[in-house]
């Protein structure tokens, strides 16, 4: 690849990244919705904070107000979530964090997928590479009842 070409690709990558960052930058209400869906209501209803619909739930109203205040203050996502964890405990987060043992929760499903894909690919290749269990002499044409048996087998396998 020529130097000019590499430069062009780098420039294109930079433009794309900037475009994504600019387009992805959310306003306060979008942040509130996003963060509100990453938190659980602490009242014990096991619902996402913004989906808790318990009438008169003292927790969800208070927590929403705290979230609005944090967003208005300009606290970043981590700081906001941490303040909720400090106040309501780790179960207030709707999903495990990506630190410490919690990381295992995220890794295991992908690891299972990758491991499984590798395993199936290996099995397929291993099965394919096995020699066919044919007699040493070349196959001979079949006739009559034997041919009908093969037809029956083909019908069974293809249901024509």
């Amino acid at each position: 690849m020529s130097r000019k070409m590499r430069q062009r690709i780098s420039q294109l990558g930079l433009v794309c990244t900037l475009l994504l960052v600019l387009l992805g930058a959310g306003d306060d209400s979008a942040r509130f919705v996003d963060l509100g869906h990453r938190l659980m209501c602490a009242c014990g209803c096991h619902q996402i904070l913004l989906e808790c619909n318990h009438v008169g739930c003292s927790y969800s109203d208070r927590m929403r107000a705290e979230l609005v205040a944090a967003v208005d203050r300009g606290d970043n996502d981590d700081l906001t979530l941490q303040s909720f964890v400090q106040k309501y405990g780790p179960t207030v987060l709707a999903a495990p964090t990506k630190t410490g043992f919690d990381r295992v929760a995220w890794i295991a499903p992908y690891a299972a997928l990758v491991l499984g894909l590798g395993l199936v690919t290996f099995i397929v290749r291993a099965w394919r590479s096995r020699p066919l269990l044919l007699p040493a002499d070349a196959p001979v044409p079949v006739h009559g009842t034997e041919l009908e048996q093969f037809r029956q087998q083909a019908r069974k396998e293809t249901e024509v």
């Binding site: 179960t91 499903p109 499984g116 199936v120 099995i123 394919r128 024509v160």
Partner: protein, 673 residues
Amino acid sequence: MSQIGSFALLLALALSAYSFLAGLIALVRERDASSARLSETARRAGIAAFAVVFLAAFVLVVAAFQNDFSIAYIFHHSNRDLPAPYKFATLWSGQEGSLLFWSLLLSAYGLVLRLRYKTDVRLFAYASVIIAAVQIFFLLLLNFAANPFGVMQGSLPADGNGLNPLLQYPEMVIHPPMLYLGYVGFTVPFAFALAALAMRYPGEKWIHITRRWTMVTWGFLTCGIFLGAHWAYSVLGWGGYWGWDPVENASLMPWLTGTAFLHSVMMQEKRGMLKTWNMWLIFATFGLSIFGTFLTRSGVVSSVHAFAQSSIGDWFVTFLALIFATCVFFYVKNRSHLRSEHKLESLVSRESSFLFNNLLFVVACFTVLWGTLFPVLSEWVQGNKVTVGPPFFNRVNIPVALLLLVLTAVGPLLAWRRTSVESLRRNFFWPAMGALGIGILLLILGFRPWKDASYFYSLMTITLSVLVGLTVISEFVRGGRVIGRHTGQNLFASMLQLAHRNTRRYGGYIVHFGVIVIMIGFAGSAFNQDKEQEMGFGDKMTIGSYTLVCRSYTQDDNPNYGSEWAVMDVFQGGKQVGTLYPERRFYKASQQTSTMPRVRSTAKEDLYLVYEGQNQDTGRPIIKAHLNPLVMWIWTGVWLMIAGTVVALIPNAAPVRVPVPARLQAEPVGAGD
């Protein structure tokens, strides 16, 4: 009344124990002359057990209708003013009753199996013994740990506590039976699989026998899961239909492995492959059904379905351990019987697509199981619980679901044994172009997948769903054209005949079509909106293209509950398109409140209104409006899935003998599965 019920349960236990022991002895002493007679008595005891369990369930329902509050279960789950359909639903609305209902369904499945024993006397005798063993477990629970006929101590209460308000909804009369028919039904294929392994059953006939059982069971479980989703949507009032709650997950896990089994079992039927895998898949499916029941009743994980927590978890753990040990024992003993008859010939083949399909279903199941149990694991390792909620499940499962969609598109185009790349390209080109066109059209129409991951997934889901839909349609059209050439029928009639000639395959395609319609419905959730507002007389709220005007708000009362509700006129484009009455109820017997959301549903979107409550200062109602795109597609897709399952259960039409050269006969029209 309670004595009749208790006696019936004891008698059912004795009959099931006899059915198990006599059946087992008859199988062990198969060569004895008397074994056939002993086996027959075991079969009849199993049939009698159904009658007695039915009597017990009947007594409980009668007790509910007679307001017999001397029975503790009736006191806790019914009351005098409960409407009749819900009194009937009392049978499965609590722990003990639902276990009795489970036992009733199992004995009903056992009854059908034992009446059809002439299909294969020996195999059915083995399966009957296994079903009797499972029945014994549930009857032991009912007799000694969760007796629904326990009596109240002290003076008789005048009225009962009433049914949980959330369960007082028409779908709750059919959702649990459907779900239980699914859960319990997997006992039958499990019993046949274990029987076939234990007796080293020759050939694949047991799979043919159990195929219908498995499909029917799977169909019931599918109905049960989506009825539950629809109930959650219509009653819980949070605007969603799936919250990844442990109880929901418990129903999804056996569905995932059961779906994998329905696919991979075809490899065993057609090619004599994956015998061990299929055996363990059905063992796992049954085990997960029992595990799901354990999860919902043991209190080991936190759930919104907290109504059924108790201490019977240990019983289930023991039973699960016994199941596992039995499966391992027979597998180790007879594993040589499960050797594959054929080898895989090509990576580009139907066989390999089934392998990858199974992998994805199993990974999805593992992910759900992992996420459900991780809080317990975390508490054990770190000493503190964490929440594993929708953000986790959505993030890890959506990529797997998208991969499954890719396979659903490609798989049907692949032939058994091997497929040429040329043929794949030929069959795949136009569907791929069509899907790509739809993807581009969506981008032009305003999809911005780079703005948010949910938009990206939504775009991918719709595009891949279109791809699957087009491949399904192309399969129908391609096959229909060939049949039309031979018979001179028009395309539609030819496609009907095609489907009738191989109902399983084309029924399966209809199920796939239903799945993609559902997936498109799920994709709509990326664009959900909601708004909450206090609404006085004449106040307006705008959401999406709708304007809501509060015409009135009022209260009502009946013997069962009191209610507050608002009258909301719905306008679209300046024209009134309807009126919705969101409501909040207060149930007197249970002293609990419940919301009754009201929905205006169209193919484009659902307008979903919730009466959140009243502002105590102003007395005005607080209304929450959700705008949920494409939700109707989900329920439509479920109907398609049910229709496809029914088609797949219809026997094939006799193959048409066309006197054409062998080369033409081999043309893959309606071929295979």
